[in-house]
Symmetry: C2
């Protein structure tokens, strides 16, 4: 089916193109020329790599409510200010302030091979274990459904160990992530309902290594919150092997907790449209990151992509017809408060986002965009965008139907198109939510090509609009 769909997209694109190019070759040449200039400028006069260096190496991890998140707001506001935009402003929002506390202690306390220290990180939003920690027998499961099936008799008083790995045959690693992440998000709630004391979750990655991956959980309504930690894939495999040999008890101690909420901000910069300023084209990423690592691919890359789009258009003296707005969202990782605030204010003011593009899949070599939209308008508008494929394909960019980004999903009812920037996905989950997501694992050219790709799409959206 995927194969057929891809094929049809190619056919459609060619038919559209034959039509387009027959009618307007000088136009297409002008577009090709301008897009070439965007790429040349990004690769020779870009700022995104230096911005990312500052944001990651000098400011660091930017968890919502942290001093570093505040510094990131200030830094990116200053950088946007330096671009001579028409306006730069901060949109306040209240954010949760979760802190990890003391380093997690997680170890196998009893097993056929004795005690073993595990590489672990508390999941974001998790409660702590209390000062003395928790020690209990471990039961391994592969899914939320299995917990349900096992029932209270098997689960009560245990530490539930979720160990369903990524499906390695998924070509796009985000599909593998999507197939596993319910364990991290809801595993604690479902185990708690049946009397579990805590949960361990296999890290969300394809790799076999010793690096634990944090990430958010959500406690469902009315559930008693229990502690949850991620363990590295190597340690998950070890634990699973030991459980086949005999009973295993794990001890864990975490002191993570919430402090009081803080006021933080979405950082916003705009170039006003000269003809249709009321039609908005949004480019964005999220400014917050996890506390471990420095959030280089997730999502420092997306922020500097969005900033670079405005920078490139300015560098090229491009005067947009429509308003181009860069939004650096706060609190995507553990609350989405910045995005919700943005959606509400935008809808209250009856704004129209002709298009919104989010970059939140890392700073790798661009492969294209996923496109989403309200069902009433999607097919018609998607067809218009598909017609631009011949301009994008020389840069290795495709277009496919698919989800856009967490921060822009709430704009769908405005009936524009929502785009997710799609770079190569193979390495993303090597780094995602870990201590090694740092500046050194971002390649300068790959990052720059991403900014140029997004700017090219913005140029076409601005020039032609979407009927």
């Amino acid at each position: 089916m995927r194969y057929l769909k891809k094929f049809l997209i190619i056919v459609v694109s060619v038919l559209f193109t034959l039509n387009l190019s027959a009618q307007s070759t000088p136009e297409a040449d002008e577009d090709a020329f301008f897009i070439r200039r965007i790429f040349d400028t990004a690769l020779t006069q870009g700022s995104c790599y230096d911005w990312l260096d500052y944001l990651t190496s000098r400011i660091g991890g930017r968890l919502s409510g942290s001093p570093q998140a505040a510094a990131a707001v200030e830094y990116t506001r200053q950088m946007l200010d330096s671009l001579q935009l028409d306006t730069v402003w901060l949109q306040p929002c209240q954010v949760p302030h979760w802190v990890r506390g003391e380093p997690e202690v997680v170890r196998i306390a009893e097993s056929p091979m004795g005690t073993v220290k595990l590489n672990a990180l508390a999941l974001g939003n998790s409660v702590g274990s209390g000062e003395v920690g928790i020690s209990a027998p471990v039961i391994e499961v592969k899914s939320l459904e299995e917990v349900e099936r096992l029932g209270r008799s098997q689960i009560e008083g245990k530490i539930v160990f979720y160990n369903r790995p990524f499906d390695p045959t998924q070509l796009n690693t985000f599909a593998a992530y999507g197939g596993a992440v319910d364990q991290r998000g809801l595993g604690a709630s479902r185990a708690s309902k049946l009397g579990a004391l805590a949960v361990l979750v296999r890290s969300m990655t394809n790799r076999s290594d010793d690096i634990p991956h944090t990430g958010a959980l959500r406690y469902e309504e009315g559930v008693k919150p229990i502690p949850a930690v991620a363990v590295s894939t190597n340690d998950a495999d070890l634990l699973s092997r030991l459980l086949k040999q005999g009973p295993v008890k794990v001890y864990l101690r975490t002191t993570c907790h919430f402090l009081k909420e803080e006021t933080s901000y979405n950082v916003i910069g705009e170039i006003y449209g000269s003809e249709k300023p009321e039609e908005l084209i949004l480019v964005g990423g999220h400014l917050d990151s996890w506390d471990v690592g420095t959030g280089a691919h997730d999502d420092g890359a997306g922020c500097v992509h969005a900033m670079e789009v405005l920078h490139l258009l300015r560098r090229l003296d491009y005067r947009p017809k429509r308003t181009i707005r860069c939004v650096l969202f706060m609190n995507e990782e553990n609350g989405l408060r910045g995005a919700r605030t943005y959606w509400q204010q935008s809808n209250d003011q009856a704004e129209y986002h002709l298009a919104a593009i989010e970059s939140d899949r890392g700073g790798f070599t661009p492969r294209g965009f996923t496109v989403d939209g309200h069902e009433e308008v999607f097919i018609d508008k998607f067809k218009q965008v598909i017609a631009w494929l011949p301009l994008l394909e020389p840069y290795g960019l495709g277009l496919s139907k698919g989800g856009s980004g967490a921060d822009i999903g709430g704009l769908k009812d405005q009936k524009g198109l929502l785009f997710g920037f799609e770079p190569d996905s193979q390495r993303y989950f090597d780094y995602h939510h870990t201590p090694i997501d740092g500046f050194d694992v971002v390649n300068k050219r790959e990052l720059e090509l991403g900014a140029a790709s997004i700017a090219s799409l913005v140029y076409l959206l601005d020039k032609y609009g979407l009927d």
Copy 2:
């Protein structure tokens, strides 16, 4: 023009596909299904990553004539033996044995900012400087033509510093490499003809860093060989800045030299064809590497790609109609002796390579194949291959006209098709010919996807042949 060409390829592919799929949908479904199995198997039961670990981390750099090159011959022969092929054999060839000698000493000896040690590596095949080294004034040039233009009066008695950088606007970094590498290959010869004492060459990379990149030079007939070293891009920039401020003298001492030639081998394994065994489909890489680093991307990746193709076909119980031959060539880096031996014996025996595919652009995410061939047959055969695009595109694979690989170029007169496996190029020249081209910079999934991509093309070539 590139844009137009890409567009035409898409049109052609769709027209062919409409035709193909109208006539034989079950066939196409069978092909799609088998290719999916190839990818699934590569991603779950592949051996290439472990083989590469051994070849790089345990054997190491494999310069022709070195003990490590001999170990690599032995190791890969054993691994091919373990695959239950129809035959595995070693094809002897004589190879040069160049050694680097003592660590290079290269420093700015006089300049407006005093003395500075430079990060440098002798170029492969270079002569040494003699025990006492060479000290001389430096003159910076941007091209071989500039040296010609300056003439003997400016060049004699000097150290010539070639400093034309990569063109960063080239999307494919191999195009940038192609635009700069004449300085490394022929810079010493052209400077020597006009009386230069030695040359410095800016490292062949897009990056700004402190890592020198070695690589081969060639002394032209009748030229007095002079020493040549690569300096890191940061040091090249420094040297250039200093030269703008005043005279600069550099001291260099290298002790590199040739030992006597050694007998080495191409390592070859085959699965015999069941219907047309005389039609050969070759998959190959080169087994030798530079002495610095461990040749992981260049070209350990290509070797294990080629081996994995046979492994995957065996795993899937595929009985080829045609003979599938894996060739690990010796001495690509500084002589091409293995390839030349192979071509001669193949032509002498009137073999017919229906197709040859080389992987020598690293183990990154696959983007497709470049295709080359004898002008008498190219267009006809290329059209047949283009018809397979709908089967390859779901895996992100395209096909474009372009050079194949150094080790297979000499098979062109057999009038089959020559393919170069084309992975994403952005990071290749971060590592190429440097101490950091090691196992840790290869991603497991990216490597596996490459092997699966090549195996898929081999499957189609074997099943359908080329008329």
